[in-house]
Amino acid sequence: MTTTTWLPVLVLASSLVPAVAIFLLPEDRHRTRTTLNLAGALAKVGLVVALIPPVLAGRRFEWRVPFLPEVDLVLRVEPFGLLFLGLSAFLWLLTTVYAIGYLRTDGRHRSRFFGFFSLCVVASSGIALSGNLVTFVVFYELLTLATYPLVAHQQTAAALRGARVYLTYTLGGGVALLLGAVWLTALAGPVEFARGGSPAVAALAAEQPGAARAALALLLVGLAVKAALVPLHGWLPRAMVAPAPVSALLHAVAVVKAGVFGVVLVVDELAGVEVAADLGLLGPLLVVACATILWGSVRALRQDGLKARLAYSTVAQVAYVTLGVALLSPVATVGGVVHVVHQGLMKITLFFCAGLLAQTLGATRVSELAGAGRRMPLTCAAFTVGALGMIGLPPVAGFVSKWYLGLGAVDTGQPWVLVVLVVSSLLNAAYFLPVVGRMWWGRPGSTSRSGTRARWEAPPALLVPALVTAGCSLLAAVAAGVPLAPLSMAWLIVQGG
């Protein structure tokens, strides 16, 4: 049952209004800015929570407005979009708290920062809510533009360089996406996302398989940039120059997730899994996903910079989602979809902790982390939870994702994918466990900042978000079978409800 309503617009407005207001605020109005930020973030969480029961009951909310000739801008609340929206709303709230604490010491251009920060959330909400391809493309490009100033925030030479690389990659990807979208729209008319695939695309695939295949491939290549699929992942490690809250948001919900969310949309809701498989798109996608998983992990092994190691780990981890949709199995799709949430929770925990360690101990390199567990036990405990989850060890969320991906791989008769998962787990262990081991059992060296205080735990604004996300990473696995848990939602999305 679809209802036309302003609700989806309200969701966007909850971050757009603060964005505009913050841009207009003078630098020194800290309190007003904080209030606006938190009010917007809380309003968004509230809206999303209010949307969950009716959507689970089968209601759909839609809002459309004419945009181009014959093409509408469509915002629609669907279960999968709502999952992504819920994730971004929740993590935005935590990241805002964290960012307010983080930028307290280094306070230049805060209005600009939080303005674009909110805009970035507008863009990801728009992506989550988009009901057709054109709407998706619009918000996707907006996301690129909104994140650039965040990556370049520190305005050092390295930051500007990293941000330029980021922009060139993502704009290039955007062009490919736009071309694909235009081509597909020209051939099949304005295509809307639908469960099991758009009928217009299915018809096109039957009539002109070559053109449909090429247009969809172009879309996927464009999306592969933000999804950081090898060999288009080069921007991600360079974008590490951004401040920690930005990296956290970029890696957990905003940019990279928008990429894989798009991949899932294109495969599952635009083409439909069967059509995509018939067109021969899933095989190459599967191979690319596997290659990305392995390559990202191998590169991560060698990074001494903690954030760089986490960045390469993101490359590998996000490809699990692509892997899930590329395997022609509902079970694997559940694994992929649920990993959107799980990876977000775990990776944001890791980045929060990386920021905490850098700010409090001055440790940005893995080699400087020896003995950090004695100084900052809570931070390191949160980091440990995230790292164990990334390896796929129970009872952390990553285990649930890997379990379903593995089952799906065997189900579809492709047990070699299981080998990829196994090798990837081993590699993850090889680059995460030494970090964890050094934290807890290493001898504090001369490289880390020493002092008279025994404990260096960060202020609550920074520490609490990390602990909350670490707790959620555990909870998502421990209570995986509870209704409203990410796993139950993923089943609902895949089976339809």
């Binding site: 290549v221 060999p231 060698r302 036990p377 089952l407 079978g481």
Partner: protein, 589 residues
């Protein structure tokens, strides 16, 4: 009685959490010390659960994790009781350990217990996997607890092998579940019917073999035991290695299908372990290394039972029961022996010296399988189970000699312990009492258990033949040990052999030592290769940029245009991918 199940899990888990938080408080904090001392009590519900047995009903919580279920069957129930008793004794010892960080140690032990017990009683594959993983990860904390160089090295070896084990198990379990073996009761049949039976069995032997100390995967045991604090060694050898055994018993297609190839291979490896452990073990310098090798030997004995069950499905039920009885006996006796090391170091010169020596001797004789001890019951059961096995080698003729091997290894441990630093003279305290209870209860319990919970097996009757059967291997071992001691006293043995000083002839960890070195080199080389590939890619990218610049100059495009060429790398990458994708798609029909 779901509440009892929940209490049994939540009491230790909650206590572990509280201890972890308490560890954040300054040392010497009274609340913290009290909590550490009270920790063993949190295992009471688990013990009560094991005693209640089937009366407690099954646990089924579909919302927890991937669906959690547990049951107390003839494998899980006795092992749960063993674990509860052993961990409680261990926690009592750990609470009195010298030096700080007792709270951390206790928290780790409790976490291990939760995982370990979950693995024992799990009724479905997902629950088992979760418990197994929680135990494996927390055990790393135990091994590396002392933060010495040796502990770090042992931790690294444990972790590397542990992760391999974990991943192999996970892959095997995923295959088992897709074959329809989510419920552990269905798992063996599912594995037998699966198209991947060989792969699954191979992964299971690898994954659980690491945990169970199967040769040649046993290397972490002799490294971890001496490095870990004595209470940690006690549960490592007593309870955790048994999780590997339980994994085999739960997942291998025992009793469903005959796998003579895999079974014979396992029996042979197990025999190599059971006897091969003698060489590095009797050359050891550290008493705990000798004890660790004795564990390797004993686990080899257990693996023989599993191998026989793989070869001969009709013997499987008896073999499984015998393995459980043996695991219970060995868990208590060997765990107790490791605790004896701690008890000796605290009380060995004090008023209770006689009691310590007597208790240790009882445990040692039980492990060796002397008559009337728990070991003789377990060994008798095992021999009965494998007697009709159609194997290349006559296993029943060889198994008694494992008792000789054990005797020699334990004699070595005793000699090295006595040669160690002067023990303390502490008075009567909680660790000593719990240890004494463990000695009495543990050696007696196996009789009772074998009688009550494992009706397929017969408890040996006390006639002259059985007594002699149990006695001669131990007597042979004692005789050989006496000869060796006399030879050492009279200087007929080289110093290195007699004492293991300065370094034992065969280093602890034996085959692992060269592998450790090779792996280190390989790990250093692999990422470097990755760097080289990245270098090549960067160079290629730079070349493209240069070429673009050159192009720009050639056409004398203005400066603004030239700056644009910085955009080229991404565009080139994108176009290349699009082109490759296009070609690939054009080629596919």
């Amino acid at each position: 009685m779901t509440w009892l199940w929940l209490l049994a899990a939540l009491a230790p888990a909650g206590t572990a959490g509280a201890l972890a938080l308490a560890a954040l408080r300054p040392p010497g904090d009274r609340a913290r010390r009290r909590l550490v001392r009270a920790a063993p009590v949190s295992l009471l519900p688990a013990a009560a659960l094991a005693v209640a047995g089937p009366a407690a009903g099954d646990l089924d919580l579909p919302w927890l994790l991937l669906g959690t279920s547990a049951t107390l069957d003839q494998v899980g129930r006795p092992l749960l009781l063993t674990a509860a008793v052993l961990y409680a004794a261990t926690l009592a010892t750990a609470a009195h350990a010298r030096g700080g960080r007792a709270a951390v140690l206790a928290a780790l032990l409790l976490t291990c217990f939760v995982g370990n017990a979950t693995a024992f009683v799990a009724a479905d594959a997902a629950t088992f996997t979760v418990g197994y993983a929680v135990m494996s990860v927390a055990a790393y904390g135990l091994v590396a607890h002392d933060r010495t160089a040796a502990a770090r090295r042992a931790g690294r070896a444990y972790l590397t092998l542990g992760v391999v084990s974990e991943v192999a198990v996970l892959a095997a379990v995923v295959l088992v579940v897709s074959a329809g073996g989510l419920r552990l009761a269905d798992a063996p049949a599912a594995v037998a019917a699966s198209p991947h039976t060989g792969t699954i069995v191979g992964l299971l032997l690898l994954g659980f073999g690491i945990k169970a100390g199967l040769v040649p995967l046993h290397g972490w045991l002799p490294l971890a035991h001496p490095a870990a604090p004595p209470p940690a060694s006690a549960v490592l050898s007593g309870a955790m290695v048994k999780a590997g055994l339980v994994g085999w018993l739960r997942f291998l297609p025992l009793g469903e299908v005959a796998l003579p190839g895999w079974g014979t291979a396992l029996v042979l490896l197990a025999l190599v372990g059971a006897f091969g452990a003698l060489v590095p073990g009797v050359l050891a310098r550290d008493p705990k290394v000798a004890l660790a090798y004795s564990s390797v030997s004993q686990m080899g004995f257990l693996a023989v039972l599993v191998g026989v069950a793989l070869v001969a499905p009709d013997l499987a039920p008896a073999c499984v029961l015998a393995a459980v009885v043996y695991a219970v006996h060995h868990g208590i006796a060997k765990g107790g022996l490791f605790l004896s090391v701690a008890v000796w170091r605290r009380h060995g010169a004090g008023r209770w010296r006689g009691l310590v020596v007597a208790g240790t001797a009882v445990l040692a004789l039980a492990v060796a399988g002397a008559p009337l001890g728990s070991g003789s019951v377990a060994k008798y059961a095992a021999k009965q189970a494998v007697a009709p096995a159609p194997l290349l080698v006559d296993v029943t003729a060889l198994l008694p000699l494992v008792g000789t091997v054990s005797t020699l290894l334990l004699a070595r441990a005793a000699v090295r312990l006595l040669a160690g630093p002067e023990p303390g003279r502490d008075g009567l305290d909680a660790p000593l009492v719990t240890w004494a209870v463990l000695v009495l209860g543990g050696t007696g319990a196996t009789w009772w258990l074998a009688d009550r919970w494992a009706p397929v097996l017969r408890v040996p009757r006390l006639d002259a033949v059985t007594l002699w059967d149990a006695a001669w291997p131990v007597l042979l071992g004692v005789a050989l040990a006496c000869v060796a001691v006399v030879a050492a006293r009279t200087g007929r043995l080289p110093q290195r052999v007699a004492t293991g000083e300065p370094e034992p002839l065969v280093p602890a960890g034996d085959v692992l030592v060269p592998v450790e070195r090779a792996t280190g080199a390989l790990l250093a080389a692999l990422p470097a290769a990755g760097d080289r590939v990245a270098e090549v890619r960067d160079r290629a990218q730079a070349a493209v940029v240069r070429a673009a610049h050159a192009l720009g100059r050639a056409h004398r495009v203005e400066r603004a245009e030239a700056r644009l060429s910085g955009w080229v790398p991404s565009g080139v990458a994108l176009l290349a991918v699009a082109a490759v994708a296009g070609i690939a798609l054009a080629v596919t029909p």
